[in-house]
């Protein structure tokens, strides 16, 4: 898609939740996510969540990393 239009799509901000049984290995999961092409911004061990950016073409590889429960687009929160 992006290559055809000639403009790279901006990377997606994502929140990745790690499966319960991988909670003690969240740093390993984060390293594997980096290898899969994700830029890891923050690791939240209590929450079992890893925040970062992924190029859309790498989303499939990121989803395939062992120990991933969900990959969700990170939304912006506002004062309401």
């Amino acid at each position: 898609m992006s290559s055809k239009s000639g403009q790279a799509e901006p990377p997606l901000n994502v929140l990745i939740t790690v499966e319960d049984q991988f909670c003690d290995q969240i740093e390993t999961v984060a390293r594997n996510l980096k290898s899969a092409g994700m830029t890891v911004a923050e690791v939240f061990p209590l929450s079992r969540v890893i925040a970062g950016e992924v190029a859309t073409e790498n989303l499939g590889k990121v989803r395939a990393v062992e120990g991933i429960a969900s990959v969700e687009e990170e939304t912006t929160f506002r004062a309401v």
């Binding site: 939240f44 969900s70 969700e72 506002r78």
Partner: protein
């Protein structure tokens, strides 16, 4: 971590008077196939870690002594094929999983609480009856139109600010409470606090910014207003009282920028910080819009469950996306739509849903409770903060009156702190149930106001 619930009359002796019996906290009712009770109990002990099992058959004549079984995690009525268990949220999930895997355990449901019908009906019975009436009224209105007398009543504001206190403190009965939130840690995750505000002098305040390059000091106004409602002074420098838990320890987590927004990761960082610091209550007047049919985010439900497990109750604003005057009711926003986060709707001075307040449109994003959220007077930064997008609102210095589910949320958080002080042994899940069971039932759809108006 003592996860067992102190339920029924065991609660907190000395905290209750004869006039106000302790809250009834139901357990979980598990039904077995009568020929497989022993095997099923063994499965529950293995899978869900249910300990201290008492068997009715062990009591003389099968007459269970409830005073003795209060210490038990589960009481099994062998001949009935039924058990009543005290489970925490993790155990509830584990038991639910066993039920789906194993046919020996037939059903799992909340233990019903029964009442003798009398002149003064219990609040939840009243809520049920009012819900029934709402449904009938809704049907009637739809078919034949609202009655004139209803239109007249709907125009009246029941509450006003007085010289003594804001309408929200009066309507929520926070003004009548003798509690102060002393010893309770309340985290408010927002745009920070005006640390120089005269009404917060001498208070125990811990602050942390999760916004790169910005300090805890609030140059938006929103955070100072919310913290004022939840934890503001009993006797402000001037004007009426507007704050509820006036002796609570305040944890100011700046997770929204001075421009009033941020990526979700800042809020996650704030939640982890609040849990790590042992905060009992987290108030989040923030969120993002959710579409009909859209589910909650795992990335917030997971930490919210962990928070509950560690005795931190997270309370969040349902969001302001609706326009009820145009019959537009939008779903509860994110992250308030997470099942383990208490979602707060806003009502006005007539205890009607605020025009902007979101509703239980999605099955998994329900409004749990309501708070005063229209014409809410509270603290504001001094000097007045810079007007910020998207509305570039001009603030008044020191005090201001604004509206939003954001303003309703800290009313609930402040009252949660009062109740936590009165009942220090409560788990976060029990505190949630106490808040909803004490709420004032409203003659409005549960979809819009949940259990009703929060009450101290």
């Amino acid at each position: 971590m003592a996860r067992g619930r102190s339920r029924r009359s065991e609660g907190n002796p000395g905290q209750e008077t004869a006039a106000s019996p302790p809250p009834l906290i139901p357990g979980t009712l598990i039904t077995f196939r009568p020929d497989a009770v022993e095997a099923a109990v063994a499965r529950l002990q293995d899978a869900a870690g249910v300990r201290n099992v008492a068997f009715a058959a062990d009591f003389a004549g099968g007459a269970v002594d409830l005073a003795q079984t209060r210490q038990a995690g589960m009481t099994v009525f062998n001949s009935l094929g039924v058990a009543v268990a005290d489970l925490d949220t993790d155990q509830e999930s584990a038991v639910a999983a066993v039920v789906t895997q194993d046919g020996a355990i037939a059903t799992v449901e909340p233990e019903p609480v029964f009442f003798a019908f009398a002149g003064n009906l219990p609040a939840d019975v009243v809520a049920y009856l009012q819900g029934y009436r709402d449904a009938v009224n809704h049907l009637c209105d739809g078919l034949v139109g609202p009655l004139r007398s209803d239109l007249g009543a709907a125009a009246a504001d029941m509450f006003q600010d007085t010289n003594e206190a804001t309408w929200g403190l009066i309507a929520s009965r926070a003004l009548e409470s003798r509690s102060s939130g002393r010893g309770v840690r309340v985290a408010v995750l927002d745009t920070g606090l005006d640390l120089d505000h005269p009404d917060f002098r001498g208070r125990q305040i811990v602050g942390q910014s999760f916004i790169p390059g910005q300090q805890v000091q609030d140059d938006n106004g929103h955070g100072t207003h919310c913290i004022g409602t939840a934890c503001g002074a009993r006797s402000p420098a001037k004007g009426p009282r507007y704050g509820i838990a006036h002796e609570a320890e305040i944890y100011v987590g700046k997770v929204l920028s001075d421009q009033g927004s941020s990526l979700g990761r800042s809020t996650l960082a704030g939640i982890e910080w609040a849990i790590t610091n042992g905060c009992h209550i987290v108030s989040m007047s923030l969120g993002g819009r959710v579409e009909p049919g859209q589910s909650f985010l795992n990335a917030f439900e997971t930490p919210a469950r962990e928070a509950m497990r560690r005795n931190t109750l997270i309370i969040a604003a349902a969001g302001n996306d609706s326009d009820r005057s145009q019959n537009i009711i939008r779903p509860v926003g994110s992250p308030a739509n997470c099942p383990s986060i208490m979602a707060v709707a806003a009502v006005d001075r007539g205890l009607r849903p605020a025009n902007f307040s979101n509703g239980s449109v999605n099955a998994d994003g329900r409004v749990d409770i309501s708070g005063p959220g229209v014409a809410v007077y509270s603290s504001a930064p001094d000097p007045a903060p810079t007007p910020q997008p998207p509305f570039f609102r001009q603030w008044a210095a020191q005090y201001d009156t604004i509206a939003g589910t954001s303003m309703a949320t800290p009313h609930v958080a402040g009252i949660a702190a009062l109740l936590r002080q009165e009942n220090p042994s409560l788990t976060a899940a029990e505190l949630w149930r106490l808040l909803t069971s004490r709420a004032r039932p409203l003659s409005q759809p549960v979809r819009d106001v949940g259990a009703g108006l929060v009450q101290a």
